[in-house]
């Protein structure tokens, strides 16, 4: 396994090397076609450069408790990659590589170029066996159904996805599947220091707030009304260097009008809305602001447990009861380690 990790590390270095012109081309195409903004792609690649390290791979394998030496029969793993943020499926790809399985990748049409440059290098170096495409039709010559299925989606999307895969003879109801359904994260802040507000702005607004690790609800010791002007300054500071790529649908303005009508405290930021409500975060481009403390955080996390991905805190000493996810630092919201567990499940361990 040490040898494999060394080879993987070299492959990642080659991929992220400044001399990798194929990656540069992929970035250009991605940006030119309006799929993602350059700051979002750059941020993701810099984050991966920090996290895809040999020591981190070892830590992943150790923390997963997976016995990779036990893996004898290679399975075909079908990965359906979501395209909400750049390279969001990279953890699944690396889990397939480390578990020595065969990769069948449905790349997102919203992100077809970036991961392909990594997949090419992994295949060239014999680290990856498999194939990939942005079109399921391209897998029609697969002779056997996949042995396992990995994807992220809402609970309601599971049946339509399985139906589509049945049509292509790629999976059926009995195919073991790891479906990640969490769609938002929650943060507790306990002061209004510039660092805290900067971290919060980043955790909320990065990638237009579209990831499941993005903060959609914040618990703060102060109400929105008293801090909205101040926080808006940090929002604008963030957007100066990271203009929001994706614009909200008109429904956001309807939400704003509703909040006005019902006198809900809110802050309208044109491309984003902050509102003082504690309802389950279900729509994009909305930050729910709740006045409260760690006890309120626990209440909300339990109430909205089904869709909750991560709980962030600014104080590393905070501990939460075992029925709630282990808290992470707010500053790490958009830079997860490679061994993080979406929906509390390690894909590497699951595959093995």
């Amino acid at each position: 396994m040490n040898k494999k990790i060394d080879e993987l590390q070299e492959a990642i270095e080659e991929w992220l090397s400044p001399d990798n012109y194929r990656l540069k081309e992929a970035i250009d195409k991605t940006v030119n076609e309006g799929l993602f903004s350059f700051p979002d792609v750059k941020y993701q690649l810099l984050s991966l450069k920090k996290t895809l390290k040999k020591g981190e791979f070892h830590r992943w394998i150790e923390s997963s408790g997976a016995d990779l030496s036990m893996q004898e029969n290679q399975k075909t793993v079908l990965c359906l990659h979501a395209g909400n943020l750049p390279l969001v499926g990279i953890q699944d790809i690396l889990a397939v590589v480390l578990s020595n399985n065969r990769y069948l990748g449905k790349l997102s049409r919203k992100d077809p170029y970036l991961s392909q440059t990594l997949l090419d290098i992994l295949k060239k170096r014999d680290l990856l066996d498999g194939r990939w495409s942005a079109d399921l039709e391209d897998f029609k010559d697969e002779t056997q159904k996949a042995d396992a299925l990995l994807f992220s989606g809402s609970t309601e999307s599971v049946d339509p996805v399985i139906d589509a895969l049945k049509t292509h003879n790629l999976a059926d109801d009995s195919t073991p599947k790891l479906v990640r359904t969490a769609h938002y994260s929650i943060a507790l802040i306990e002061d209004d220091r510039p660092d805290t507000f900067r971290q919060l702005a980043d955790a909320v607004l990065r990638y237009g707030g579209s990831g499941c690790r993005s903060v959609a609800m914040v618990v703060a010791p102060f109400g929105l009304k008293s801090k909205k002007c101040e926080f808006t300054d940090y929002v604008e500071e963030f957007w100066l260097t990271n203009p929001q790529h994706k614009k909200p649908a008109p429904s956001l303005y309807h939400r704003f009008a509703y909040n006005k009508a019902t006198e809900i405290e809110q802050s309208w930021l044109d491309d984003f809305l902050i509102e003082e409500t504690k309802m389950e975060p279900s729509e994009s481009f909305i930050l729910h602001w709740v006045k409260g403390d760690i006890e309120k955080l626990k209440d909300l996390a339990r109430t909205h447990r089904d869709g909750l991905q991560t709980i962030y805190v600014t104080n590393p000493d905070h501990e939460l009861p075992s029925d709630l996810p282990k808290p992470e630092l707010l500053s790490h919201a958009q830079q997860p380690p490679i061994w993080w567990r979406p929906d509390g499940v390690d894909p590497l361990k699951w595959l093995v």
């Binding site: 999307s157 589509a164 009008a257 729509e283």
Partner: protein, 333 residues
Amino acid sequence: MADVPAKLSLSIFDPTQPFIEKARSVFEFQVANNPVYRRFAFHFIPAGELPETVDDIPLLPIRAFKECNLVAEGFEPELTFKSSGTGKMDRSSHHVVDLDLYRRSILQGFSQYFNSTEFTLLCYAPGYSDNPDSSLLWMLQYLVDLDKNGQSRFLPLGQPLRSSNIKRAVQNDRQIVLFGAAFGLLDLLDLDSLKLPGGSHIIETGGMKTHRREMSKTDLRYKLANGFDVPLDHIHSEYGMCELMSQLYAIGDEWFEAPGWVHASVRDPLNPARPCDPGEEGKVAIMDLANLYSCPFILTDDRGVINEEGKLAVLGRWHSAALRGCNFLIDRD
């Protein structure tokens, strides 16, 4: 001012007036008297202006019935209906200022399809006295009370439909309309109820998903038809809710038709101002002019689709959670 709503409540049922004209008058009344709707509508239609088309009328999200006191200023409710729900915050409240308006809406809607002198209404539901918050039970009680022969009534819960029930109901050459929540009617079948006599009708009203079972509307209809020995085109549905004074009926199929004072459409959840094309799923929007004193222009959280004839099929609840987070969407990614 007091005359205005009285005239309006009469005119909204006038079949000779186009819906848009009636809707504009009700819109004007709402903007003048309902502060919540006024503040909402102002973001879409400038003060003093009227919507040009029905589609231009701003639709207030239905959760306002949970979060606000939706009643026209200066009017006192006669009664308040509440939706079912567990916690106080989960329940909608509909303040009813004019019960006559509700009576008229119920009767006119129901008698479009069923003449109360020809049918006996058998309701398989708890009595209104058991749940005085329920608008549905109020409606059923009202329809039962309209039957001067006293043949219409609530059936005892937990007991099968017996020959004595049927004999009494069909006296004087009347036919039976059996009305109940979908799961309640299935329970009635499970109790080994008798078949219904020829000419009977069944109206089910939602509740497809319970702790015991979940089934499609089509399966439900077949099950009711076979179980009660009633032809499929005599299996009907009612679409109503605490937040609406009016009801829509699907007669013999799964497509609901709105009465003349109600407009049903389906809206794009990402842009509620846009009506969906026929066949395109979205959120059900209801303009119920009988909601004169609360709020008539509502965007529900139900998922639905409109057909080419403008009839509505209700497909369940709209799940907004699908709109955020990292989602693999098979047909849209």
